[in-house]
Structure formats: C-alpha cells, structure tokens
Symmetry: C2
Subunit: 294 residues, 2 copies
C-alpha cells in the first residue's frame, strides 16, 4: 500500500491555487467594486478546487512546472465558478444555497450574479493570454489549450450539458439521458482540466489517451457521487429540491448508483496503473471523490 497522504496533498494544492487566484485578482484595479465583491465571493466560498488540482496533478505527473500550469489551472477554476453562479440562478437550477452558504444571487441580486459569471468566464481567457504566460509556453500550444478549454466549456461540453439538463427537468429521464448530461455538464470540464495539465507536461499521445479515460471515468463517478450525497443530505432533513432533476440514483436506485460509482473508480484507477507511484496524487483524488459517497 502507498503511504501517500492525499489529505495533505489536497490541502497544500488548494492553498497554492487560492493564493494564485488571489494574486491574479489583485493585479486588476478591482473596479467597479460591487462586481469584484461578487467575483471574490464566488471564487472564495469554499470550493474544493478539484479541477485546478487535477490540472496540477496530471501536469506534474509528466514533469510540468507548477508556475506554468497555474494560470490554466486557475482559468479552469474561474470557468467552473462562473458555471455554478449561473447554474444557481432562478432561470436555471434556482438554488438558494451553495455549499451551505447563500448563492451569489441571494447576496448580490440576480443581475450582479449574472454579470459576475460573465466576468469570470471572460477573465479566464484574459488570464491565459497574459504576456507572462506566453513567455513560459509556446504561443501555438497556448492557442491549442484555449481551443480545448473553450470546447469543454462550450456547447459541446458544459453549456450543452446545462441546456439538456434544463430541458430534462420535470420529465422522466433514462440512464442514457442522465449520462449524457453528466458527461457534458460535469464531465467535460473535469476531462479538460486533466488533459490541459498533461498537454502542458508533455504527455505522449498514448499517455494522453490514458489520462483522458481516467478523467472521463472520474468525471462520471464524481457526478454520481454528488447525486448520492444529495440524497443523503435530504434524508437528513436538508431542504428538498423543488425541481425534479435527472440524477443517476433517481433512475437506477441508490444501491445500483453506489455500485456504479465503485465500478467507475475501479476503471478509472486501472487507466493510470502504468504510471506507478508517480500517479499517487491522481489515485488519491479519484478515491477521495468517490469515497465521500459510498
């Protein structure tokens, strides 16, 4: 058994990412004030930083330097935060709470929350095109990374998944629809985060395929685990969602969902077997994501 301490790893990397996000924000004039407050609130209200940690972990596996990986890791987190701010709005999921705290629109109003999301998405691209970034990485490679990130975040990924999720609301969904939504709405950005790290690290095509499959299994496991925990929360007296959402346990039942998560974890770990001890962070992340739920 590996003695790798994933808790320490996650804590340390989250702190690094928080520090970088804070530094990137500080470089701007932070005007107008209100929207910066909303951006700050969204970015620093207790996220796990799963996506940027994945970028760092898969990048470091192939020898990528942290300071080269960091702007992309942070841009991916900004895109994730934009997506949850918009997703929580009444027009979409209408969630008043996010991680037990008031959602952005409950504090700043719907208009500023909408704009804070727009700002975070836009600033993510501003961050990745800073002159400093192009001094550390080949410009044509940066373009490739932005192309891939905007695909994962766009209609072919995140936004497309949100649209199908919205349309599935209140309808009887089947497993295929739920997986379609999960693969895009959550999976696409997780996949992209891992791939971006591996590309920067210089992974070979064969290694890219492994990391991609690892991240695909991980993304699906993560979302099903989230769905399972949502049920546990509600059973414990938490607020009940008003809208009927397409979730995995709702379609196949709780026991089958838990089984599926463990199966996905197994598949996910198998993909990175060949990387040996160096992939302990990626293994730790996968176990951490799943073991919350089962």
């Amino acid at each position: 058994m590996s003695a790798f301490d994933i808790q320490a790893y996650l804590k340390e990397h989250k702190a690094l990412i928080d520090r970088s996000l804070d530094r990137y924000l500080k470089k701007s004039k932070q005007q107008p004030r209100t929207i910066y407050k909303a951006i700050h609130y969204g970015l620093f209200s207790g996220g796990k930083r799963l996506r940027p940690i994945l970028t760092l972990a898969s990048g470091e596996l192939f020898g990528g330097q942290q300071k080269v990986l960091m702007p992309f890791a942070c841009a991916l987190e900004m895109i994730h935060i934009y997506s949850i701010i918009h997703d929580d709005l009444p027009a979409l999921d209408n969630d008043d709470l996010r991680r037990g705290e008031p959602a952005s629109h409950k504090i700043f109003g719907e208009g500023i929350a909408l704009l804070a999301g727009d700002a975070l998405l836009t600033e993510a691209f501003h961050l990745m095109t800073r002159p400093q970034v192009a001094r550390a990485l080949e410009p044509s490679l940066i373009l490739k990374l932005i192309h891939e990130i905007s695909h994962g975040a766009g209609v072919g990924g995140l936004v497309g998944g949100q649209a199908v999720d919205l349309e599935a609301e209140g309808r009887e969904a089947d497993v295929a629809t739920v997986e379609y939504i999960h693969v895009r709405k959550t999976g696409a950005l997780i996949l992209t985060s891992a791939r971006v790290g591996a590309i920067i690290g210089g992974a070979t095509p064969k290694e890219m395929r492994r990391i991609s499959r690892y991240a695909e299994f991980l993304g699906l496991a993560f979302q099903i685990a989230d769905d399972i925990m949502d049920i546990a929360e509600h059973a414990g007296g938490g607020e009940v969602r008003e809208k009927k959402k397409a979730t995995y346990p709702a379609v196949v039942g709780l026991a089958a969902a838990k089984y599926r998560v463990q199966e996905l974890l197994h598949q996910c770990l198998k993909e990175i077997d060949l990387f040996g001890k160096d992939a302990d962070p990626l293994r730790g992340i996968a176990r951490y994501v799943v073991e919350r739920a089962v």
Copy 2:
C-alpha cells in the same frame, strides 16, 4: 465631396459577415438543438454588424486581408450578441423586444437565453483559436488580440459598464456617470473592434492611436445617438421603459445631446483625416451612426 457609397459598403460587408457566421456555425454538430436555435436566433435577427464591419474597415485600411480579419470580426459580433441577450434578461434590462422582435428569453425562456449567451461568449474564443486562424496569423499576435478582446469584453470594459449601469438604475445620474457607463458598456467593444482590425492590418503605433481615438469618439457618439432615437421612438407611441436608465439626453436634455453627438462626429472624423480617401469606409460608418439621430 467623396462619392463613396456607404450604404452599398455596409450592405455588402454585412452579407459577408452573415455568410461567415453561418459557415462557422455549420461547422459544428449543432447539438443540442434548442440551444443552437437560440444561438441562431440571436445571431441572425437583424443586427447592423457595426462591430465586425469596423474590424474589417480598419483592417483593410492598413492592408489586412479579409479572410484573416473575419474570424476576429465574427468573434466580436458573437460577444456583442451574447451581451445583448444577457442584457435583455429580466435580471438586467428586462427588455421584451430587441429591434422590434421578441427578445431571446421571450421565445426560448430565461434559462436557454442565459445559456445561449454563455455559449456565444465561449464559442467566440473557440473560433479565434481554430488551427486555421493560427496558420494565417502569428500565434503570439493571436494571443495579444484575444487578450485585448477579453479586456474589452470583461470587467474593465463591457461587463463592468453593465454592472455600473445596473447600479445607476433608478438613481439620479450625472454626465460623468453616464459617460462612464457608455464608454464601457458600448464603447469598449467598439474600440476593441476597430483596434483589432488595425492590429491585424499592421498599423504603426501612431496609426493605432488615431484609430483608437476615432473609435472612442465613435463609440460615445453611437450610444448617445441610440439614446436620442430611443426618445424619438417613445414619443412616437412605442412602449415606455419601466426602469429609469442613465442616458445622455435624460441628463443634459435633447438639444444638448444632439449637439454633443455632432461634436463627437467632428472629433472622430478629424482623427482619420490623415488617411485620405482610404478611410472613406470609416468616415461613412461614423456619419451613418450619427446621422440616424440628428
């Protein structure tokens, strides 16, 4: 007097841009359907294409090739359309009509309209980072252009202007606040559109300064002209805005606003004097923008 036919120029360039936007969209799988319908509706419901035409006109002034300019021109239009889809939402301006047609959210619902805006913003960056674009233009220059565009569209420009506009709603605004909002909410993307063309065309620093000032005056003139036409429409029995907005005529009166627009047109034209006949398209655009209103 120049015999330059601006009407023909605008019509021809609008058709070119429409064709390119359509071609870019067709290259995607166009799934999921609903969100593509909303994207298509937003992009093809009668915009003037002022921003992409500015990119083409200022680019061609310095010898830029249309096919090199086009992806950036179209990306700027996609960003503009995203911003008006979001701006029309109840959370912001709450406009049911856009150019006399139902706003996106009145047709597709608020959720899909929100996501269509998110998609357009994201796809704009996807478009600018296509491998074909990097074959026609130096990758480091593309990064510089994306950096500038994401600045104009972000908190320092468009989104920041929308935030201050939202906060000024219902309050007594002064000229400084109105100009602050106009310069960012409308001006920033117009400035960026002209600058992007000039950068691609290879303008010198001195020429860049001229084009930038031309576009700054133009952007402000455009927004004040829009405010004036808004008043004329309402006087003609059109619907009255429910919310009190910070507009130039509301602050200084209609006559002073008309005077200011003509003054700005004069300043705007002076900046491009030195370019002679080659700048006829830029002159025509400026006159067209202002003469609708006075």
